[in-house]
Amino acid sequence: MEDKNPLSPHIQIYNWHISSLISISHRITGIINIIIITLICFWASFLLLGSTNYDIIKTFFETFFGKFLIAGTVWSFSFQILCEIRHFFWDLGIGFELKTANLTGLIVIFGSIVLTILFLGKGLI
């Protein structure tokens, strides 16, 4: 095919479905989680250097942005874990029917929020 032929539009026009939305979020949270784990490692080694470092980090986590970061982290991990469980069942060949896949997709979305709230509890407020 010659180059002059245009490429038909794809991601620009295609509707998002629950399944595709979760698939891309799964990837994004995966990348975020790698960064977060690296940061946590840095944070832990930072603490080894003394109590003043602990105070700096503590004040940071008490700010609004710090709290947001913690909540985001917990959500990101919850989402990832639920997605992985969903994928585990898929690997067994279970849950491919459109209705089931949409239902498990919704469970992942709402489940990750519920897990975040349960995990953080009163700490959120």
């Binding site: 095919m1 180059d3 032929n5 245009p6 038909s8 539009p9 026009i13 399944s19 060949g93 491919f96």
Partner: protein, 257 residues
Amino acid sequence: MVQINLPQNSKIKKGKYYKDKTGSKNIRKVNIYRWDPSTGENPRIDTYEVDMENCPSKVLDLLNKIKNEIDPSIAYRRSCAHGVCGSCAMNMDGKNGLACTKPHKEIKGDINIYPLPHLKVQKDLIGDLSTLYKQYQSVEPWLKNSKKDENKENLQSVEDRSKLDGLYECIMCACCSTACPSYWWNGDKYLGPAVLLQAYRWIIDSRDEDRKERLKKVADELKLYRCHTIMNCTNACPKGLNPAKAIASIKKMLATS
């Protein structure tokens, strides 16, 4: 590779506006992707005002009406008009499907019609599917059996036959493959849902003697494992089949054999 933006020659421009001449009160706007290979211009979106009083129920009827009554220059594939041949596969309202089975009543607002996504456009709504056909050929979609006696039936148990249900119905319309983001980014290497469903159809056929070879051939990082279970394929299939499940079945067979 992932390329979100369209190339320069594929950017869509605003096209002509065809005003309704019938004076009908029941009007719908239909936006259609147009590209004419003879002009060398960029693709455009033409808008047609269509009198819905005298229009049958499906999107294909709508296109036929536009072609017959408003603009005869518009090009699209169609043949059976009953969801059997797979010719009129296109993107309607942001989702792939067959124009002949999709009721336009299901679409809210203006009706947007594009060719199947991420294909080289040949004209208007006609995309070039030759890569997909070559990939289809590569899975050797025919029965391989060493039994030479042509006068005898090649029997299959009811149970074995039922394994082909949900696979043999595929009409190769390419709705699934062109709905798949993985196929958009790696269409030259990844086989895509349509071809993998067909590959599985022959892998699982009890009469076929080439199962091991077939599995070996498809077991490839790019050919098979580019499927990330996005499930756009199953969402798009106008025949209600499940390519995502077929692909998972191949993966499972490979993991357990």
